[in-house]
Structures are given as C-alpha cells and as structure tokens.
Subunit: 231 residues, 2 copies
C-alpha cells in the first residue's frame, strides 16, 4: 500500500496541506489526477467549494482533482481512479455517507491494491478498523461504525495532551481512549498535530514532528518517536 493518514490538514498558523507538501509529491508521484472525497464537510462550505480548496493546493503539484460527488456512478469512479484524498470534517457524516452509498468497501479494495491514498483527520479515521475513537460529535447516525482497516488499529487524530490548567470536569482525551479500551481490544494510535502514519508496502510507521502516543489494553500508554514501526 501507499498511504498517508495525517492528524490534521493544516498546522496552526500554516496553510492548507503546506506542511505535507514534500510527502505528497512522493505519495502521488506519477499521478496526474486524484479523486477528492468531500463528504465529511457538514455545511458551511459545499462539496463543490471544499473540492475547489483541495484543487487549489494540488495544482501546485500538477495534479488535477475531481470531487467524488461530481460522478453519476461513484463506484465506477473509484475503480477508475489513480489515487484518492479524503478531507476532514465530521467522521459520523463521512462514514454514514460512504456506507449509504456503498463506497467504503470499494475504496478500501482499491487502496489495498496499491492506489495512493491521503486522509486528513476524519479521512484518516476511516483508515482504522472502526471510527470508535473519533473526537467528533455524533451529529448523524451511521448504519455502522466499521471503516476500511488499512491499518490493524484505530486512530485518534488531533491527539491532545491533558491541560493541567483547565478547571473543567469533562474527560481528557486520554481518559476517553482508556474508556474505549475497557470495551474493545484494539490498539489506538494518538496522532498529535504535525504527525502522520505512513503505509509503504508492508511497513507502517509514524512520521512527523512529534512523538506519537500509543494506547493498548492492559498497558500504560507509551510514546513512539518519529520513524517508529506501528506493527
């Protein structure tokens, strides 16, 4: 496989996908068109506008971008595509739409055959086994929480360390993931902003500027430095 699952599309103070530019040149080498999957975006901007935002960025790499919503037959479009990019937004809306249109398994199949895939945030969550470790609000009810299982674990994008200053009784991210582990025996990769998971052939590694926090049932959470294997 040839995949990047990134914590975020945009670093604080940066421009859209800017920090990933060199990586994306490698990921999409030899490709002149990709399909953008805009379904995570819950209003505010339309699928059309969201696709235009991706198109703007990829024009710098001489890669053209078509929105999956533009095709009358999205399943055929997925099978004909050279590569894919799924943008962030709300994971519940993304997963609901992919399941209802019957696209989840077709996307997964094509990526597992070696087509390049970039996911950011919600688009990264769907690379995991299921979406049960998303941070998003359940604004819609998907027919299933199952995802593409490109990796043998779950992701928590935008992973955020506890703020000891906060006088607030809501659960920390770490507490929420530990609660997930009481109900599921699935490893969780807490991806801080600035980090991504790279799948290249049979290797799965953590990459980026930050350490990555790993949660497994029955173990204390631990940190991996950039370049570490996630297998």
């Amino acid at each position: 496989m040839n995949v990047i699952l990134a914590s975020t599309s945009t670093l604080f103070g940066g421009n859209y996908l800017e920090y990933l530019k060199d990586e994306l040149i490698t990921l999409f080498a030899g490709i002149d068109e990709i399909i953008f999957i805009p379904y995570a975006r819950p209003g505010g901007i339309s699928h059309e506008e969201y696709t235009a935002k991706a198109r703007d960025f990829f024009s710098q790499l001489n890669i053209s971008v078509k929105g999956l919503h533009e095709f009358n037959n999205p399943i055929e479009a997925i099978h004909a595509a050279q590569g894919f990019f799924t943008g962030g937004g709300n994971t519940f809306l993304l997963v609901k739409t992919l399941h209802e249109l019957g696209l989840m398994k077709h996307l997964s199949e094509n990526i597992k055959l070696g087509k390049a895939y970039l996911g950011c945030s919600a688009g990264s969550n769907i690379g995991g086994i299921n979406m049960k470790t998303t941070n998003d609000m359940p604004i819609v009810y998907p027919p299933s929480f199952d995802c593409m299982e490109l990796v043998p674990f779950n992701l928590n994008p935008h992973y955020l360390d506890p703020n000891p200053e906060l006088k607030h009784n809501g659960e920390t991210r770490e507490t929420r993931i530990m609660e997930f582990l009481t109900q599921n025996s699935i490893k969780v990769v807490g991806l801080r902003e600035g980090n991504w998971i790279r799948i290249l052939g049979d290797e799965i590694t953590t990459q980026g500027s930050e350490n990555t926090r790993i949660f497994e049932a029955g173990k204390a959470p631990y940190e991996l430095s950039p370049g570490s294997s996630l297998l």
Copy 2:
C-alpha cells in the same frame, strides 16, 4: 415533571454532588429511596462501586439508593421506584445499555408521570431528544441515538467556551454544535459546569451560577441568564 438535568456531578475542587445538595433536598422531598442507574460508567469502577458513591452522598439526605443492576427485573424496578438518578460516564454506553435492556421508554414514561429524576452529564444527555450532541467518544455502537425527550431540545453538558490561546486545529465545541445544526433542526442547550436545567410542572428553566448558551438553526448563538425559561 420534577427533574434536574445537570451539566456535571462535581465542580472543579468540589465534592460529588455537593453544589447541588440544596436542590436535591427539594427535588427528592418526601422520598426515602431512589434507583441509581450506573450504566454509563465504562470500567475503572464497577456498577457496584459507582452505586456506592451515589449511596454515600444520598445517605446525608436520608435517602437510600439501590443500583438498577441489582434487580433481576429492571423494568419492574423502574415502575416500582419513587425516583431516579443517572450518573455520568460515556453516553454511548449508557444509551446502548438502556436500549438493549428495553429500559429507555419505561424510564421516560415514569418520569413523565411525575417521578423525580436527577441526571448528571451523560445522565442529562438522555433527557434530550437524542444523544447527537454528546461530547463522548463513540466507544460502542448503540442501536439508536434516541433518548427520553423530557425536554423539547438537546443538551450539551460540560459546555466549554473556545480557548483563544490553544494552538490546535481540532473543532471547538461551538463549531461542533453548529455542524449538528446543519444536519438537524433541534435546539441545543449548552450547559456550562455549575448549571442545570430544572423541569417543574410545565416550566423548564436554566439554573445555576453561569449563563447558558443556546444554539438554534439560522440564528447566532445567544446567552440566557440563570432562571430563564427554556420553552
């Protein structure tokens, strides 16, 4: 109805339910036993230990507490009860358990007949129309997101204002609730910690130390001071 739906069980630096003590004396006046619903708690402490924590507090009010998990027939127990308290934890786990045991509608019926109900956090979420505005992680898949609809709106407990200092690209609470409103035409009551909703007869008011933030489709979010009607 005679109901309190509180943002949190515990204020920062305070003890369990302490800030609500005077209100609970009024809510449960004339009642010597309530049923505690411990299902939101995902491990860490058992249903037994969680019930003991509630029992400790209510012993000060001369009210005895039985855990709903102690009954062989929880439906009968709900119909025989004088009042109820649902503790916080994970809303997905609470809603899944209540639906799977067939308890959601029985609980709702009994509260709508006038039996006293206290909810905290996840226990307050289930007083809304549905759980689509919870902050919790979807660690399990409930058969439905529908809740008791004690109030004609949804709740967001532990409502947290955006932190302008945070150099992080995850969505703010306000952004998440605005995303909910793109998919649903249901009012959302953002309950800051220290606040609760009081249902007394036909009146529904916001109470507590903080203003309450209200979100409605097609309107800018606005604030209500304590004592305001939510109808």
